[in-house]
Symmetry: C2
Subunit: 232 residues, 2 copies
């Protein structure tokens, strides 16, 4: 972790730390403090704990506001999908976080630098550090900036739950037959929107739209599961 | 839920809502919207989801700052103990929240007004409503005001984990003998502080102080578990 790398990170985040120690701690893996006889609390574990809570609120509020009719179970699910290890690793790559982390030598040998969990944890720690260094509103701005594309493109969905499969499982439990009907297409060929309705034994249970047929079906399944409260 | 009761609540919270609908929604139980053919999202469930995240960050930060050497597992544990149903119900009683909630008639008949979970949920919803109505800093101030005594008196401990029992379980796993030694007492008779050291097979593994011998032993056990990373 060179001074240049820290500068690069600050530039990427569009944020300058008042307390550089916080930034450095956010990027210090436990293996480094263990090997160097430092106190355990000098690694990024505690900041990760704090950042996780900051992230939970910011992303939670995003879904609260963008899905004004979704139930708690659906909101919880989407949030969990957006802040799980895979998702955080995806975001951490924008910042080349893996290269910035200080490891112990043993950890490097065993491939620690490439472990997804390590970068994901460091991203949470970094968010915790920004929160402590400034305030909630600043941390929120930076989080939304980092996650914007990911959230707006609904990328969290592709990382995770397959709503159609889940719907199918629920349908089987009650011995019902699920049918997806494409009811409408809108827009020009290169920017179409598809509208799908989902029927269970011929009763309309969900509606969805999307940029592909498949996406509109997934959305219809999500809608149906949400209405039935079957998310949790 | 009368207008008087809402005023009473605002006075107790030392906060006046700009958007009274948010306050009313925070106090609307799902049974009320179900019985009155309202949309589900008009009950307090979604606000509870948001308030839970606000609370998680504020209480999380409290423990982060007040236990600067504790590991993530210990912080997570103390926070969980402070925001579980029992703890939230305890806090909600200060506000007489149970009396302020709008229920469906069926729910009232089945004793809903006295259910601890309902008041605990409404408290989270209320916190979510304050956050939306103002901002994070305001919500934080009000949460810390509501939780101050509870946190400072370490009340969350009495609601929950018995660290000595947990330590004993861990000691048995490794066939070690735990011994608590009272090493010092300080202060006058009516305000003593006790200092205890905890030994596992004669190795010093934890230290604790407290206002009673028992409390100092609990603290020593907590300290030992924390150092060993055995919290999670």
């Amino acid at each position: 972790m060179s001074k240049d790398h820290l500068k690069y990170l600050e530039k990427k985040l569009n944020y300058n730390f008042k307390n550089r120690e916080l930034l450095e701690r956010a990027l210090t893996h436990s293996s480094f403090v263990n090997e160097n006889n430092m106190e355990f609390y000098e690694c990024n574990e505690r900041l990760e704990y704090l950042g996780d809570a900051v992230l939970g609120l910011v992303i939670g509020e995003y879904f609260y506001k963008n899905f004004p009719e979704d139930r708690e179970g659906s909101l919880t699910k989407m949030r969990a999908e957006s802040v799980n290890e895979k998702a955080l690793f995806f975001i951490s790559k924008k910042l080349n976080l893996g290269d910035a982390i200080k490891f112990g030598k043993g950890e490097i040998k065993s491939g620690g630098r490439n472990r997804e969990s390590t970068s994901a944890d460091a991203l949470e720690a970094l968010i915790g550090a920004i929160y402590l260094d400034s305030n909630f509103e600043n941390a929120k701005k930076i989080i939304l900036y980092l996650f914007q594309d990911f959230l707006e493109r609904d990328s969290y969905k592709s990382f995770n739950i397959d709503f159609k499969t889940k719907l199918q499982e629920e349908a089987q439990k009650s011995s019902k037959k699920a049918e997806y009907k494409l009811v409408r297409e809108e827009g020009p060929d290169n920017n179409k929107t598809f509208f799908t309705e989902l029927y269970l034994d011929e009763a309309l249970v969900g509606k969805g739209k999307g940029k592909t047929k498949k996406e509109s079906q997934q959305e219809a399944a999500r809608d149906a599961l949400n209405r039935s409260g079957k998310f949790v």
